[in-house]
Symmetry: C2
Subunit: 424 residues, 2 copies
């Protein structure tokens, strides 16, 4: 019953059916939202104790530091120890900072623009052109940040085992304007792809024309497993050292999707030289991060196993939602061959590819019946999906019932747009 | 008995006396610190409740927002309302952000460098030369931040009623390379000077050759009164509008010296155009500030009077320390005419000017007997005090006994250095 095998009559029937279903949706007056990868209230409740931690009288770090006062640019050692274990980064090479890893990425990029790295011929802002490799589909805020700084973007494919490293190696080998690349190595946004150790090793070892080429390794979902098969992230720092480019990789992470999305802690990791570079600029911008919030997190977690245990509780809440997405898409769409989608083993998103040329139409149709989707093309640089087929589904926030209703409505819109196109 | 009226014999006696006193100090093995303007543990204890706030189950902002989740770039309205009243800035023109106003100043400067303001002919980084007017003595971190960005500094005098506005008006009138100036308007660091409404009005109305000239109005000590005469800061935003330059002033403030120095909240204020400019860049760097910490502060303060009441408790702890500084300096130094110092009505510092050419020697002498002082020259751009006479005293952190011992040691060092110089 693949849509491509239907004759005009059958297509007409399909169109009528889906139009009727769509009118039913309209009549229901839905207001559902599949846009952003936000934790649900139930997930936030898992860290509810943070709201009363560290508790009156508890403000001393393990080394005796009064966390309430100024100072301590590196962040609390005991928090860095916990994430050293989870991220596989030695404590001296891992800084604990404020509530947002996006802010750390922004700082890194503005300092590269204004000052460059030790190996930069000049500050990036003084270059005629600076370009970044961007695996697609990818994270819209990564792309927006580059665009705001006038950094040009070169898309390459994101595969199940990581970015298309052969294409990247060919690009960076001869082009010194390519100064860096984004990568969400584990459970990528939005495809769920996991960069394999082999792909990571090649990225860290490939020759690059730019002496200051950097991989922005945004390990946002390092411990965000949806199954009991808890994938281990590739060891980027060791691979970079082994590949002869110890300063190539900059690691970012946060607890935004571990504790509170707006009030967690963030991490910057890198080679000793990169950490010194980061702190050398950070010291002009900050006297130190919020150490009380770091202590609060230490008290909540206890140790790395405390984080792992918390993440398993998240999994119990999230896995059923991803199952609903899979169930509805399989039940409604599989037979028609009008879409493919990912079955992520972790992270926050399902990547849905609909019939070429219909993604914008699907989003428009969904909006008109009260189902908010991320604008079509959001997962591509400049918001431009060349095939107009990509839709990012974020199932974490809605309740199971709302999610099922939203997915069902989305499936109707996908089918309706596909039938419209087939008959156009 | 002014040192200038003493003959060589009398000077020799003074030198011997102070040398003996100095050797006594050395024998005592002091370890005292007058360097940084840090709140004391007793001051931090005043906000101890923050360590258990907002409390489990309390996470909703007044408008129903779940503060634990993403979003809300402007910060919580109820917190902005409190500081709107205290800072005299309309709520829509006041953003509440993360734990550090220094970070906001850094962000403002890097965005000016990379993008410029609407009225900038080009990004500041694309200018041949960018210069800032720096009232001196001033805040070392302000100067270090400019230096890190390659912005040149032009010192002008800081007087009791604010910066030397005639000198500034003359400088900026014809020189388009002067893009801005620092100002701590209330209880300035380190002089305690308070910029009068008249001086502020002139700053906001004077013609400036640079169309994008900005006053960085760092109102760090707006509510930090040491007496019952609670000076009101000049209304910078209204004066700027009245002066025909509504976009001239950018206001910064924080609760670092109201609640916890490392874990407070910060504020950015400006004209509607400046606030839109700031948010227009901030949105690429942040999904929103730590709203839970903002709610925590709302719960602690209640309202603006809650802040005022807390500041009176700070005053009760701080005023006796400033009295000790005054007592010791008056008792030990007044008769000799070897120093002048300020008697601030608020803020965190006493500015001590010793005999010209001896400040570095005094700091060295003090260090050798275990009394840490900010390096001589720290309060000047590039660390260069042209008269080598300025020492910043930060009395807030030590206990009263330690402070008295440190001040007594400092007085000995001041006299010893003065006698050495007079006999040299």
């Amino acid at each position: 019953m693949s849509i491509s095998t239907l004759d005009r009559d059958a297509l007409g029937s399909l169109l009528s059916e889906q139009r009727a279903a769509y009118e039913d949706l309209r009549a229901r007056g839905l207001t559902l939202d599949l846009t952003r990868g936000k934790p649900s209230p139930e997930q936030l409740d898992l860290s509810q104790r943070l709201l009363a931690l560290p508790g009156e009288g508890d403000f001393r770090a393990a080394d005796g530091t009064d966390t309430r006062n100024y100072g301590g640019l590196d962040g609390l050692v005991e928090l860095r120890e916990i994430f050293s274990e989870l991220l596989g980064i030695p404590v001296p090479q891992l800084l604990a900072q404020g509530s947002s890893s996006l802010t750390l990425m922004h700082e890194t990029l503005v300092w590269a623009m204004l000052h460059g790295f030790a190996s930069s011929p000049r500050p990036w802002a003084a270059e005629e052109t600076v370009r970044f490799v961007c695996p697609v589909p990818g994270y819209d805020r990564h792309f927006a940040l580059l665009e705001s700084l006038g950094i040009e973007m070169v898309p390459v494919a994101m595969n199940a085992d990581g970015p298309d490293v052969e294409a990247i190696a060919a690009l960076v080998a001869d082009d010194p304007t390519i100064k860096g690349m984004w990568l969400v190595p584990t459970y990528a946004n939005p495809t769920g792809g996991v960069t394999s150790p082999e792909v990571a090793a090649r990225l860290m070892a490939m020759p690059a024309a730019a002496p200051d080429f950097r991989v922005f390794w945004d390990n946002a979902y390092a411990v965000h497993h949806l199954t009991t098969d808890e994938t281990k992230s590739a060891d980027a720092l060791s691979l970079a050292s082994a590949g002869g480019h110890p300063d190539r990789v900059l690691v970012f992470a946060s607890t935004s999707k571990i504790t509170f999305a707006g009030a967690g802690v963030s991490f910057f990791g890198g080679s000793p030289a990169n950490v010194a570079w980061f702190k050398g600029h950070l010291k002009f911008a900050s006297i130190g991060p919020d150490k009380v919030n770091q202590l609060r997190h230490v008290r909540l977690f206890g140790d790395a196993d405390g984080v792992r245990s918390l993440m398993r509780q998240h999994r119990e809440l999230l896995a059923p939602k991803f199952a609903v997405v899979e169930d509805v898409l399989a039940a409604r769409l599989a037979a028609f061959d009008v879409a493919t989608w990912t079955q992520p083993q972790g992270g926050y998103f399902v990547n849905l590819d609909v019939v070429d040329g219909t993604a914008a139409r699907v989003v428009e149709l969904a909006k008109a019946v009260g189902v908010a989707l991320t604008p079509a093309g959001s997962s591509f640089p400049y918001g431009a999906d060349p095939r107009d087929r990509n839709i990012r589904i974020a199932p974490s926030f809605p309740s199971l019932d709302d999610l099922r209703a939203a997915m069902d409505a989305l499936a109707t819109c996908v089918l309706l747009a596909a039938a419209e196109k087939a008959l156009a």
